[in-house]
């Protein structure tokens, strides 16, 4: 962990489900984590949150259209402190995202970590949760 407050924030997230200023994270299931291997459709670098739109194929149904997941991240300032830049992801990039999924089961979640398809962290560390 690069940032000393990460531990504090994670602890806060565990206790309250939220360390966000902008909105409650209670919509995400902090007890679960999904691993999504897919292709970047769009990387939205904006406040109040950055987003990865990720196209995730279903291995059980390779001929089916991939499912588009919306992965919510920190804001640009927070991500930049983890070594991220507006061009860190481009459409077509193959990546692996770990995320806390939405409780209602729809394809969305709060980011935990991001790596390239071969496991290299994007930014300083794979973990980007603040």
């Amino acid at each position: 962990m690069k940032h000393p407050n990460t531990l504090v924030a994670l602890l806060a997230a565990l206790i309250t489900g939220s360390a966000l200023a902008h909105h409650s994270a209670a919509m995400f299931d902090a007890a679960k984590e999904v691993t999504l291997a897919g292709t970047v459709k769009e990387f939205q670098w904006m406040s109040p949150h950055c987003w990865i739109q990720l196209l995730v194929p279903n291995p059980a149904q390779p001929s089916a259209a991939p499912v588009e997941w919306g992965i919510e991240m920190d804001n640009p300032l927070g991500l930049s402190r983890h070594g991220w830049k507006p061009g860190s992801l481009k459409p077509g990039d193959k990546i692996v995202v770990k995320a806390r999924p939405l409780r209602d089961g729809s394809p969305g979640g709060q980011v935990v970590s991001v790596t390239t398809a071969d496991g290299k962290p994007i930014g300083d560390t794979a973990e980007v949760t603040r």
Partner: protein
């Protein structure tokens, strides 16, 4: 005649300059007496962990807590707190997928004192007349140190940050804040309204080179059995050197818009 005008203008200019130089020296001397809190800072506790934690991790400490310490409500206000917490818990449980949104604008700085504990970056801008605290979620606090009192009661009205005056006690900035909108975050982004007698005192100081401490005492004689004191701190930020707005919310960028008082999630 022309020569006289030139001489008079030169004399006026010289006099003005001499006055300006003297004022500048006095002003430099005034600045030299102030501590150096330059740089960027972030709180060591955040919203959700600091104020607003209604239960400890073990669930053993019921009540409104600030940094783990229970706020000493009197019986009347403890009952109000319990009712507010019950309502907040019920609202959250009614639709876990769409958490209740706060009454305040969630795309800006939250109310005092939460505005000092947000996951944001802060700066202290210290001048002899005023210390201004700005943060990256559009929060600005003006703390007047020019000796003025609070405005008289009939010229005060509650605001998000209240009216703050201060003075320097050595290297400690002593701050007194009144006329605060008395909504304190309860948890789950739900606030509890305290009485109109809510009043904060703070003592801010550097503790070492990389820690800035804020000790605040919450007074509310109508709601509390005793003043409530808590200390929190900020760490120096070393991994960025820029203040960047984190709250650039509008309908095109905010994908968690509030609908019917609850947060939503837009996959787009």
């Amino acid at each position: 005649m022309r020569c006289m005008v030139v001489v008079a203008t030169a004399a006026l200019a010289a006099g003005t300059l001499a006055h300006a130089q003297q004022s500048s020296k006095e002003r430099l001397d005034a600045f030299a007496k102030l501590p150096d809190w330059s740089g960027l800072w972030e709180p060591n506790v955040f919203v959700g962990e600091g104020i607003g934690q209604s239960l400890s991790a073990s669930g053993a400490q019921a009540g409104m807590t600030i940094l783990g310490a229970k706020v000493p409500f009197n019986a009347e206000w403890q009952a109000k707190f319990d009712a507010a917490k019950k309502a907040a818990d019920a609202a959250a449980a009614a639709d876990p997928n769409h958490p209740p949104a706060p009454a305040y604008n969630n795309c800006g700085s939250p109310p005092f004192i939460m505005n000092m504990m947000s996951p944001a970056i802060y700066q202290w801008r210290i001048t002899p007349e005023e210390t201004t605290i700005v943060d990256t979620i559009n929060g600005i606090r003006h703390i007047y140190t020019d000796g003025r009192p609070h405005p008289p009661g009939d010229e005060l009205w509650p605001t998000r940050t209240g009216d703050s005056i201060g003075h320097w006690d050595g290297d400690t900035l002593v701050v007194d804040t009144v006329a605060i909108k008395p909504d304190l975050l309860l948890g789950g982004f739900t606030s509890i309204r305290m009485s109109d007698q809510l009043h904060f005192e703070e003592r801010m100081r550097l503790v070492g080179k990389n820690e800035l401490q804020d000790e605040f005492t919450l007074h509310d004689p109508a709601a509390l059995t005793a003043p409530f004191k808590v200390t929190f701190s900020f760490s120096r930020v070393t991994d960025t050197n820029r203040m960047i707005d984190e709250t650039e919310c509008d309908s095109t960028t905010d994908r968690n818009p509030v609908v019917n008082g609850r947060f939503t999630f837009e996959n787009r």
